[in-house]
């Protein structure tokens, strides 16, 4: 009886040692990723928060003694006449872009599930916008939409319409960058939704066909509901990508004319780097606002997913 208890204690002791050793190994394996996360995510985030809460001038940026100023930078940003338009443009840009990208991407994905000749080639062609470096596609759009020598206005003139100042009119600049962004975003939506469609079992469609469901009914009653998890992640990723789109707008319009196509992302860049005298504090504050907006939608997605 006692000996049995002793062995029990001994085994438990040695297993504790082994567990402790195992834990070290586990931490050893974890360390790279933990350090990576700390160095490349946590610290920059902390620095950005710190930047946005201090009153930085170029002098205090170099000497590192910027006084703590609380929410002053945020107040500056909220009071700035650019804030209202920038927020509105960010929301319009994001939601209109996503609506079109998703709708067109889904339509194309459904189209490509019907296997026909050259469908693979065509599908590959649709990926081109995704493969091009953004600076190339944005510059190309900017040439095509040039008021005087652009091919789009040349075409409009050809069919007897008045040319449009795509990039230089305050009424059209935002529309132009949205059009370019939709074009760039379609392949991403197409690829993810297409692979989502592959996962829907064929026999469901066969059963529906036997029951006499029309093509339209099959889409709304089977494809759309069964694709919901994939759609949700596509939309969330698209949202985060689109919120932070900066290069495309910067190359095409620099956020102008005046503020006509300024979004929070381009504004943040302009504050921090787009001027001879950088304003790091307000720039960081705008960046943080963007992070918060993305975070809210991320949390909404997680809540949605838990409920499912």
């Amino acid at each position: 009886m006692t000996s049995h208890a002793e062995t029990l204690v001994r085994t438990r002791g040695s297993s504790r040692v082994r567990r402790a050793r195992g834990q070290w190994a586990a931490w050893g394996f974890l360390a790279p990723v933990v350090i990576y996360l700390l160095a490349f995510y946590a610290y920059p985030l902390y620095r950005n928060l710190d930047l946005s809460l201090r009153h930085y001038t170029v002098r205090s940026f170099v000497q590192g003694n910027a006084p703590f100023s609380g929410a002053d930078n945020y107040r500056t940003v909220f009071d700035d006449p650019t804030f209202g338009p920038a927020l509105l443009h960010t929301l319009v840009f994001t939601f209109v872009s996503i609506a079109f990208q998703f709708a067109i991407g889904l339509a194309l994905a459904v189209f490509f599930t019907q296997h026909f000749r050259l469908s693979a080639t065509l599908r590959a062609l649709f990926l081109v916008p995704w493969l091009l470096p953004l600076i190339v596609s944005a510059s190309t759009w900017s040439w095509m939409l040039n008021s005087d020598s652009g091919i789009v206005n040349f075409f409009l003139k050809g069919i007897g319409l008045d040319p449009v100042n795509w990039l230089t009119s305050p009424d059209w600049a935002l529309t132009s960058v949205i059009i370019a962004n939709v074009w760039i975003g379609i392949p991403f939506n197409l690829v993810i939704l297409y692979s989502g469609l592959q996962a829907i079992p064929v026999d469901v469609y066969e059963a529906a066909a036997l029951d006499g469901a029309s093509g339209w009914q099959r889409f709304w009653r089977i494809t759309f509901p069964l694709l919901r998890p994939v759609s949700a992640i596509t939309l969330l990723l698209g949202l985060v990508y689109t919120l932070k789109v900066f290069d495309l707008i910067w190359i095409m319009t620099k956020g102008g004319p005046t503020d006509a196509s300024t979004t929070l992302a381009t504004w943040s860049y302009r504050l921090s780097f787009g001027n001879l005298l950088p304003e790091f504090g307000p720039g960081a504050a705008v960046g943080n606002l963007l992070i918060i907006i993305a975070l809210i939608f991320g949390l909404l997605y997680i809540r949605r997913q838990r409920r499912d």
Partner: protein, 413 residues
Amino acid sequence: MTFPSVRRGLTAATALTLTACLITACSSDSGGEKTQAATEYTVWDPYPQFDASSDWVKLLTTCGTDAGVTVKRTGYDTTDLTNKALLAAQQDNSPDVLIVDNPVVSTLAEAGVLTTTDEVKTDTSAISPNLLAAGQLGGKTYGVPIGANTLALYYNKKVLDAAKVDPATVKDWASLTAALDKVKAAGKKGITFSAIGTEEGSFQFLPWFWGSGANLTQLDSAQGVAALTLWTDWVKKGLAPNSVLNNTQTTSWQEFATGDFAFSENGTWQLANAKKTGFEYGIIPIPSQAGGTAPAPTGGEFVTAPVQSDTAKYATTQKLIACLTSADNALTTDTTLSYVAATDAVQQKQVAANPELKVWVEAVAAAKGRTSDDLGTKYPKISQPLWTAFQAALSGSKQPQQALTDAQSAAAK
């Protein structure tokens, strides 16, 4: 039984070493290079287009050898360089010699990044005062211009001949607008420039703004409004294309290079490209409103000496700067960069070698630094409202007067 646990321990150790390597970059050879580093001087410049085989980099190397040190040179994109310099100063890791765009000098000086020419004992007596002014703040000088460029009007001879315009008659705004009208009537395009919403746009607007007699401290003066109205009317009447709103100086040059435009407002640096256009061109100074040459802003870089914790290095830094800006070397550098030299003596040599440069030397003599008049770091806060204003007026969202009134109240904040 022991074997697996040993293996596990080893794996853990490997993982930890790897991690440690990630942090310290696995440097095992960091000790040996100390002696060489003491005589190594770093130089940063905004000329990434030049590689090791270029005259510029060869000059840097020679100057280093003459001063008894090795020069380690890095070329950055000019828009990157300000932030790179600020960050380096924050880490006390500034280069020994920093060559930087002139309007940035006052920002860096304000940040305490640069030494004054007195501290390093650089001689500035030969430099033209109007060029040196861009690097002066509160009575102190923070660098030496390596050369200067500025803006003037290129014209296309064939287009002007076809419209029966003599470029010599373009003396003021009225005669220039009249010339543009004639060109348009002859079926060609008038003038192209860059009115983009960045510093580049302000740079191009300033000759007209200053040429009206306006002052940067009062954007909405009657003269300022006159300058903006001039630009706005050109675009409204089709004498300048709508694309100017989105033009950089490079894209506006490309428009001129098509051969359809009579005039292009552009800089010294396009001279080499002008020869490639395949049509006959000429250059006239930008006229002021009432006649005569308008003061255009100076472009071009300053050679500066950033603050070092080891002040003993300044003696050699001074030798490097003196070498780079000495008459003979400045001539080589300015020819390579297609700049006008910063000293009278070298300017004379340039004109003697290439008479075409005469108009540029005159334009540079009339030019003015953007940060001059002791504006310093106030300039960026004026420039941004200014470009916002001409973007608003040219795109038709505001009248020139309203645009500049709003700009003035934004600049005064």
